[in-house]
Symmetry: C2
Amino acid sequence: MTAIPSEGRLAQALKATGEAVNAELEILLPVGSGPEHRVHDAMRYASLDGGKRLRPFLVLQSAALFNVAEAAALRVACAVEMVHCYSLIHDDLPCMDDDDLRRGRPTCHRQFDEATALLAGDALLTRAFEVLAADPTHPDPAVRCPLVWELAHASGGQGMVGGQMVDLRAAEFTMDVPAITRLQQMKTGRLIGFSCEAGAVLAKAAPNLRQALKNYSHDLGLAFQIADDLLDVEGDAAQVGKAVGKDADAGKATFVSLLGVERARAQANMLADQACAHLDPFGEKADLLRATARFVVERRA
Amino acid sequence: MTAIPSEGRLAQALKATGEAVNAELEILLPVGSGPEHRVHDAMRYASLDGGKRLRPFLVLQSAALFNVAEAAALRVACAVEMVHCYSLIHDDLPCMDDDDLRRGRPTCHRQFDEATALLAGDALLTRAFEVLAADPTHPDPAVRCPLVWELAHASGGQGMVGGQMVDLRAAEFTMDVPAITRLQQMKTGRLIGFSCEAGAVLAKAAPNLRQALKNYSHDLGLAFQIADDLLDVEGDAAQVGKAVGKDADAGKATFVSLLGVERARAQANMLADQACAHLDPFGEKADLLRATARFVVERRA
């Protein structure tokens, strides 16, 4: 039994990842020339300096388990983050969630305009695959191709985009726990899964080690979502005069509305434990990934 | 000097391509299950049974020059067409061109809704890379990776999406002939270029042969665009009571507004001749590509 690193060590590692990802994105998303620079500005606006960088962190940590060169892992981390940021840009558009704020700043279409935001999302998604397919990501194209395929599979109509479609239509269906679980697996789980497995792909790791990371990511992703639902209720409940959050206001079924706060919290904790157990084959090398599972269910924002 | 095939032979070949592309897209874009099938329906709606399939035709013809297996070329052809169709879906959205009709049918967001159309475009783009990266596209990942990279590079912020951004901002700049040429090269030229070079990539052809196809595509793409501008003027002029087309109405600079009809037509014909000349190294194997250059400047729709 290994000791789980302190919150401080995880916070430090997350901060370092954030800085490394920013520096790499600065290089991978150059300021454009010509009138098209506006779309490049929007791509940079929506992806630099923001977010927890959870997905890149998972890529870097899973790569570190196998001693993958950090420069290579960082490119994969940035590609995943580009896909995540594109999905946020498109999600925020008026025809989707119509959000004005993201990470405390105006959303991309508020800062620029809808057409520019649409194109910036398209270009970020495209750039992610361009980065993965390029030589510096890995000397062996037999590694780069699976990375492209896996990221596309996780992000497309069978994965993240499919999950967004289901989410938009949730009111039309009876969303019980299995249905919500499936929705979240598609909408957020698959990209988290890609991030956790990326290190194994980069290292051409043995199938059982890759499977261990897949299992970890499955439980981590679900724990993450339940914690999100809890925050939606409890974050707001802590505020004066507002007992429930936006999901409940919207009449959306969530893990919390279906299970209740107590059972949802117990479930999230159980999943975090289970996620950690899947990492046994990696010994203490995986301590930061274990701490991540704890962090995900204990975070306050 | 080889005889250029009759219009009839080209029409027949285009028709055969259309049928083959449809059949392959039927396989590559399956009807979905679960509530997410709506986005799959929209992807199919926007890409099956439509358009001239010019880009797939160019892929198949360039592949035929090198005797590439048709099954492989067809997958690449479908990937390019998915990118083309995604760009049309997003272009038609209210925040872009706000079009109600496409290929004589309601646009995707009219038939479904804006959110579904947005997601269908995203998923088509993603699927294109998934298809290219998969084994059946080519047994050698050292071929599949360049295909992914080249398609991404042609489609993204430095290519098609960048060109769309420039187009949206055209009114802010002085659009002279070099500026319009650059815009069109980005917006439509790069994807046509990818299509023409794809055969050489699939066949690992000698650099000079790939360069010949690149040169052909450059002139073809520009001729295509000038012909489009001419149709916008002359197509409408043939209609009662409407002397100029939508570009002129919108005050947009085009090759025709800058050069006049006569010089524009002469330029298009010159480019078509030049395009054909680049195909000399391929002898009569390239006759259908020569006929395509003729077709592009002589078409009436």
